[in-house]
């Protein structure tokens, strides 16, 4: 959903597993929808880790743990690998996450998030490890993501890092514009390319 990004300060949901693939984020059977109903996808985020086959919640899973909540998901290395399904980004957005923090993201999923106004924030492995420890010690730990200044701060320890975001995407996120808005303005350039 198009929205303007500025400064986000929130508690976090920790998922300290590596190589979380998009089949886990949203299993293939939920890909049969022909509409982009983020609520539907959000309700089925991490479906098979979150619910048993009979639909009852798996108590140990973090999304079912009342101690954790917020607009920031903190995940282990190589988050979003595998299938290109954008439904994974829709599920994350639909659940209510605006930011995902990890030390490493899979490429396609990272683009899909940005195209859906979910900000992937890449931090160093040390920052990530410390953040997991902070959240474990105190689930009320907050993180501040400052998009204009491209910094992320663990408010429990005060540790701050800069993160990468190209100037174009930053402009899009801060002004709620998407790539299609931009490309539609480029018709002249496209035709010039085709005729060259």
């Amino acid at each position: 959903m198009k929205q303007r990004f500025d400064i986000i300060e929130s508690t976090c949901v920790p998922l300290p597993l590596e190589n979380v693939d998009t089949d886990q984020i949203i299993p293939a059977r939920f890909l049969k929808a022909t509409t982009r109903d983020e609520r539907f996808f959000g309700d089925n985020l991490f479906r098979d880790w979150r619910y048993r086959p009979d639909g009852t919640p798996v108590e140990g899973f973090v999304l079912n743990d009342p101690r954790y909540g917020g607009e920031i998901l903190v995940a282990g290395r190589n988050f979003g690998s595998g299938s290109s399904r954008e439904h994974a980004a829709w599920a994350i957005a639909g659940y209510g996450f605006k930011v995902v923090i990890s030390s490493f993201f899979a490429d396609i999923h990272k683009n899909n998030k940005l195209n859906n106004f979910v900000l992937p924030v890449v931090v160093t492995p040390d920052f990530l490890e410390e953040l997991f420890a902070s959240i474990e010690a105190d689930p009320a730990t907050k993180v501040r993501v400052d998009v204009p200044n491209q910094t992320v701060t663990n408010l429990a320890t005060g540790r701050r890092e800069s993160f990468e975001l190209n100037a174009y995407k930053k402009y899009c996120l801060m002004n709620a514009l998407d790539d299609i808005d931009y490309l539609l303005l480029q018709r002249g350039r496209i035709e010039a390319y085709e005729n060259r």
Binding site: P16, L17, E18, N19, D21, D23, Q24, P27, A28, R29, L31, K32, A33, T34, T35, R36, D48, P53, G76, R77, N78, S81, G82, S83, S84, R85, E86, H87, A89, F104, A106, D107, I108, N111, N112, N115, N116, P125, N166, A167, Y168, K169, Y171, D178, D179, I180, Y182, L183, L184, Q186, R187, R189, I190, Y193, E194
Partner: protein, 464 residues
């Protein structure tokens, strides 16, 4: 700027967006039914038509059942998605190869087979295995649905240029070892994120020696190392494969095209951001034991022990073994197998069926094993019949089904039940990939055939 990747990419840059990505022109967009409906909705919401409909080809593959395709799809949700693609293609004036028609099949099998994917092209599809088309010497990669919408609307996408990586495999492959093992071996060495951020050029004598089918398999699995895509510079093997294909250039156009394609190679002094080299002789028949494609080992090898795994990966490793119900150090040979799947965009081509048939010829399917043999396209199915492979397979107790993605991803009736083990020639062994609770062991067509006739994990070299 002298790698083949640079040459193709740079030739397609419409503009460098200031402070941002490249605006890249796309020669070919493929659409399947799963990742396109919301993109077409987006066009309607914005009141747009496709800018270059002649560059776009649509076909359903993920939801299509692999038997009874002459009848309507039973699952109403699947049927709706397949019908939506047909309706969208008609509304926007796009070519559509419908289910059970003579041209249908898995998009990544049909594209090269029809000569729609050609050297030097940029090719995208809302599917991570679009990297397959790199086998013809194209820059091909998977995209999300928003990006599908971008291409439908503008024939362009905005994309940060990936870095370049060359993987050289020199020497000769051993007995019973093929392109699938090459890929599983690379993933086991590089991990599923080892090539993230890179576009891979495969090179070296062992890669050059691969057939087009082998090259399609190798490039298909590039994404499983995290790579944006992977390709092989076109050569005589490529030209011989493409010549005479329905959409390949004809006559004098063909001669001119081949002349241009011969220039599509990395220069001798090309500089890659990363380069790795392997010896083909090191590569054994491979199989996976875990829940990502990088968790692979020699088919006659063991599940690793915790000592082999770096500390930050141990939680995921233990979770994977619990899911698979394997113990650290287990020997894989002799483990029982319930299902065997030959097919998918990875191994659903004629050569894969030839390999499988060669191994099972004169043997019988093991009792208790359910085997799904699913050609990647109607064309592959016709070829199986023309070569008499269907008879060889039938004598051994195997039936050839109708084309589609089948048991690769549990979006159609071919699902592996919870707790069952499937030796599968597909591309992913993620939790639940072949059905909730299913346990997938990725392998080559030969290893799948060996499991199918013995009912247990078997080294195919013992049966060749």
């Amino acid at each position: 700027m002298n790698t083949l990747f640079d040459k193709i990419w740079d030739a397609h840059v419409v503009q460098h967006v200031e402070g941002g990505p490249d605006q890249l022109y796309i020669d070919r967009l493929y659409c399947h039914e799963v990742t396109s409906p919301q993109a077409f909705d987006g066009l309607r919401a914005r009141g747009l038509r496709c800018l270059r409909p002649e560059r776009i080809f649509c076909m359903p593959d993920h939801n299509t059942p692999t038997e009874g395709q002459d009848r309507p799809i039973q699952d109403p949700v699947s049927r709706k998605q397949v019908d939506a693609l047909a309706a969208n293609a008609a509304e926007f004036g796009l070519v559509h190869y419908g289910m059970n028609g003579p041209d249908n099949g898995i998009i990544h099998v049909v594209g090269p087979e029809k000569g729609l994917s050609l050297p030097g092209m940029t090719i995208v599809c809302g599917d991570s295995h679009t990297s397959t088309h790199g086998a013809v010497g194209a820059v091909a990669f998977g995209i999300g649905t928003s990006e599908v919408e971008m291409v439908l609307a503008s024939q362009c996408i905005l994309q940060q240029k990936p870095r370049s990586m060359r993987i050289r495999i020199d020497g000769s492959l051993g007995k019973g070892v093929n392109a699938k093992e090459m890929a599983l071996f690379l993933m086991s060495r590089l991990t599923t994120s080892g090539a993230t951020g890179y576009f891979v050029e495969y090179a070296g004598s062992a890669v050059r020696a691969l057939s087009m089918e082998g090259r399609l398999t190798l490039c298909n699995l590039s994404i499983e190392m995290g790579a944006r895509g992977g390709f092989i510079a076109p050569d005589e093997t490529t030209f011989a494969y493409l010549k005479g294909r329905p959409h390949a250039p004809k006559g004098a156009d063909w001669e001119r095209a081949v002349e241009a394609w011969r220039k599509l190679r990395s220069e001798d002094d090309a500089v890659f951001d990363r380069e790795v080299v392997y010896d083909a002789a090191e590569i054994p028949p491979m199989i996976t034991y875990g829940t990502n494609p990088g968790m692979g080992t020699a088919v006659d090898g063991h599940v690793p022990t915790l000592d082999d795994i770096p500390s930050e990966g141990q939680a995921s490793f233990c979770k994977a073994l619990r899911y698979m119900d394997f113990q650290p150090g287990d020997l894989l040979l002799g483990k029982p197998v319930d299902y065997v799947f030959l097919g998918a965009c990875t191994n659903g081509r004629i050569e894969d069926f030839r390999a499988f048939a060669r191994l099972v010829q004169g043997r019988r399917k093991a009792p208790g094993v359910v085997a799904w043999l699913v050609p990647g396209s109607q064309e592959v199915r016709r070829q199986i019949v023309a070569e008499g492979l269907d008879r060889v397979l039938a004598e051994a107790g195997f039936e050839v089904r109708q084309p589609g993605c089948s048991a690769c991803l549990a979006m159609n009736p071919d699902k592996v039940p919870a707790g069952k083990y499937c030796v599968s020639t597909s591309n992913r062994n993620f939790e639940g990939r072949q059905g909730p609770g299913s346990r997938t062991l990725l392998a080559s067509p030969l290893t799948a055939a060996a499991a199918a006739v013995s009912g247990v994990i078997t080294d195919p070299r013992d049966l060749l």
